[in-house]
């Protein structure tokens, strides 16, 4: 059995172990041959900013982990336009090749998946 999973990344990186535990779920689903997509919205868009230096707060860099996801056939990445605009980030370089989706289309994007995981 295979289902379409959408992980909705909503929080800043480096908030406790939130992101690490999200990635554990994502990799488990992908390794069990599920179709996995990621949607970044709200403060979750900060997870993809280029040029982060988390070493100064003693945290691991997350970009290499995201960039390894295509090895697990996870290569469908969405980001919400309005979340970028509200944070003045629409011109910033991102660490993943994302497809931009308008807020008005997010509900339809979610509806096109079987399992939506808010994380």
């Amino acid at each position: 059995v295979s289902k379409r999973f959408l992980f909705v990344m909503q929080s800043c990186p480096h908030v406790g172990t939130q992101l690490e535990e999200n990635l554990d779920m994502i990799l488990t689903a992908a390794s069990m041959d599920q179709t996995v997509s990621l949607l970044f919205l709200d403060d979750g868009v900060f997870q993809l900013l280029e040029g982060q230096n988390p070493a100064v707060i003693g945290r691991k860099h997350v970009a290499p982990i995201f960039q390894a996801l295509p090895l697990y056939d996870v290569d469908s990445f969405w980001i919400e336009l309005e979340s970028l605009q509200e944070r003045s980030l629409e011109d910033r370089a991102l660490t993943l090749p994302v497809q931009v989706v308008a807020r008005s289309k997010v509900a339809a994007l979610m509806a096109s998946h079987d399992i939506v995981v808010m994380c």
Binding site: V1, K3, F5, T17, Q18, E21, D24, M25, T28, A29, M32, Q34, I115, V116, V117, M118
Partner: protein, 142 residues
């Protein structure tokens, strides 16, 4: 008393829904776990099936038997254990979430868990979370 949307619709009055439930927060900080418990109880009472309740992130704190039970406080672990006893609900605490938090539990076959976990809880990996999602009609995160 529970939401009408949980009741089978009239067009499909025989339809029984299968739910997978995930609990992410600790029983000490938020209402989520208690809401998940009420949801699960209501769904069972209406004839639906709970494929599994998966305790992830701080949800891993729900099943500890080592917590004392003061007379005048709720004890979430005991509530869940009762559901497991009466309805056979599968209560799974994620091994990686538990170990990340230093909880003294090990893989499923370890007998030592019996003393540490409330009745009906077991320890297993995220694979069982995916498995529950695949078997369920609805997946709900609390």
């Amino acid at each position: 008393m529970y939401g009408d949307w949980l009741k089978p619709s009239t067009e499909a009055s025989n339809s029984q829904m299968k739910f997978a439930v995930q609990i992410n927060s600790s029983p000490f900080q938020t209402q989520s776990g208690a809401t998940a418990y009420q949801f699960t109880k209501a769904a069972l009472a209406l004839g639906h099936e709970i494929i599994r309740v998966f305790f992830y992130r701080d949800g891993a704190y729900h099943g500890l038997a080592t917590r004392p039970s003061p007379d005048d406080e709720n004890h979430p672990a005991h509530d869940w254990s009762e559901l497991a006893r009466n309805h056979g609900v599968d209560l799974v605490i994620c091994i990686s979430a538990a170990q990340r938090r230093g909880l003294p539990v090990e893989a499923d076959h370890d007998d030592g868990n019996a003393a540490r976990l409330s009745e009906g809880f077991r320890i297993a990996g995220l694979g069982l979370w995916v498995d529950a999602c695949l078997k369920a009609d609805r997946f709900i995160v609390f």
